[in-house]
């Protein structure tokens, strides 16, 4: 009996240990999740807001989109503002500068309120325990709604303009409206497009021809290809061009001389013309005065007659005894020169 009682006590003790063991295990599992964060060293920081938009103890603190801490305490100040104390992990402390700003924001569009730390200059020292953050201008929902309202008005204005524009187009006004409604314009445009298309085809063909030409030019043995690539022919061409240049210069000088000669001839022609037209000059008298012309004709006739008679006289002189010797001597000298 005593043994049975003792055995029951032992069983009860074992049961107690089992219960305690299970309780410890359960407590460990339930608390370990939050305990993990308990071992992290933190510093406290403060900020005083006009409105915290439903921020509560335990809400997150973000810096550059990363969770760096949690809200620890929210209290009212004597001037009816809200003082928020939040803890920041020591690991993140060095990245948050003293001139950084805080504001109450939201985790997503309909998410929990959070404290958002932003900004900070690299050359400013990092925050310390008990740092009082400056507040960034808070954009309340009302301000957002105001901005949205302004946007709505702009959109309304734009849609009204679009409505007016489409009405004009429908009515056939303006360039686009005429294009859509006016058949003549449409046909003209169609013709223009056809012309452009034809021109494009021609251009295409031209380009194709050019391409073929270029291919041919690139073919070895071709004249132009030889010109472009043969090193021996180049000096010859250069000399030829130089000779052509000299010839061209000579021709230019000749041309100038010819021009001068033509000018002189023209001048002479003008002078002659002037002389012939002037009835007072000897040539003019000769050309225009009939009496003088008759006199001259008579003179010439007399001269012809005199000349004929002079020939006869000269023949007579050859046979004259005083001059015969001279003429014979002259004939002999001429024959000697010929030989």
């Amino acid at each position: 009996m005593a043994n049975q009682e003792s055995s029951q006590r032992i069983s009860a003790k074992v049961g107690l240990f089992v219960v305690i063991g299970i309780a410890i295990l359960a407590a460990s599992i339930l608390t370990l999740g939050t305990m993990r964060k308990s071992f992290i060293t933190r510093i406290d920081a403060n900020a005083t807001f006009v409105n915290v938009n439903g921020l509560t103890k335990g809400n997150n603190v973000w810096f550059s989109g990363v969770k760096v801490g949690t809200v620890r305490e929210i209290t009212f100040t004597p001037d009816s503002k809200v003082r928020v104390v939040f803890s920041i992990e020591e690991e993140s402390q060095k990245f948050i500068k003293k001139d950084a700003l805080v504001r109450v924001s939201s985790d997503g569009l309909i998410g929990n309120p959070i404290i958002l730390i932003s900004g900070g200059s690299p050359n400013v020292p990092m925050i310390e325990n008990g740092h009082e953050f400056r507040i960034e201008k808070e954009e309340s929902t009302q301000e957002m709604m105001k901005t949205l309202q302004a946007n709505n008005k702009n959109i309304l204005s734009i849609t009204e303009d679009l409505k007016s524009l489409t009405a004009d187009i429908r009515a056939g006004q303006g360039s686009i409206g005429k294009l859509m409604k006016d058949n003549v314009m449409y046909e003209n445009l169609t013709k223009s497009l056809a012309t452009v298309e034809a021109a494009t085809k021609d251009l295409k063909q031209g380009a194709s021809g050019l391409a073929t030409l270029a291919n041919k030019l690139n073919t070895e043995g071709n004249f132009v290809n030889s010109l472009a690539t043969d090193k021996e022919i180049y000096p010859t061409i250069k000399n030829t061009i130089s000779t052509l240049q000299t010839t061209s210069d000579n021709l230019k000088q000749t041309s100038l001389a010819a021009k001068q000669m033509v000018d002189n001839l023209e001048q002479t022609s003008k002078t002659i013309n002037k002389m012939t037209t002037n009835t007072g000059s000897p040539v003019g008298v000769l050309l225009h005065d009939e009496k003088t012309a008759n006199n001259i004709k008579q003179t010439i006739s007399n001269l012809e007659s005199s000349s004929s008679k002079l020939d006869q006289n000269m023949d007579a002189l050859k046979h004259n005894i005083f001059f015969r010797r001279y003429f014979k001597k002259k004939t002999k000298e001429q024959q000697a020169k010929k030989e």
């Binding site: 003790k13 049961g15 219960v19």
Partner: protein, 259 residues
Amino acid sequence: MRSRQHLFSPKIDNWLIGFKDGADFVVMFFKETFSRDFEFKEFVNQCYRIGNSSLLLISLTGFVTGFVFTKQSRPSLETFGATSWLPSLVTIAIIRALAPLVTSLICAGKVGSSIGAELGSMKVTEQIDAMEVSAVNPVRFLVVTRVLASTVTIPLLSFYCALMAMAGVFLNVSNSEDTSFSAFLEQAFNNIIFLDLWTAIIKAVSYGFTIGIVGCYKGYNASNGTLGVGKAANASVVMSMFLIFIEEVFIVQVTNWFR
């Protein structure tokens, strides 16, 4: 003056002794599980009984759960114009929590009570004693096979329940939003990660083990004739359900460490 024969009081002592017996029973189960001569045929037989008996009930319950849960969640999401999130939201809820929980609660009622009553009746009619006399290890033959069968079968039933629940979700979403099947699958499994499946498996295995071990323990320790059989069956269901909810809390806590 308190009697020295009790540690605290007779009631508290008995409650503590019950804990100790339960722990002993679990230890005995593991010892027999890893011993030789595993009753594989009986294990398969128990798997078939547990799975087959619960299949129809789980099909219906799973389908209704998915359908109703979707229907109930819609008004809340409609407030934000986010009904397109319904498939994703409900799928996460089903995979992570609903499917294992609903399956195990149904099995606790159907399988747990069945095991408790069966082993209880065997105990009060001294069939278990007879097995011991005839050199058959009753723990190995009756307990190990049933506990392992429920541990293996309930995860399978749990995934089947999830499948039926998804069918219910699709029916509701398809009727309301004309969502195609491929679009529904795309939305539904977009946010499911491997850890969600592991969570579901861990839960289902734990619940299956709990249902089996509690049913066997209560049945194996039944006394007082037919009255004891009824009590064992009833206690199996109540204790299993209670432990399932307790385990749910701890498993969620543990799996959340890895998220």
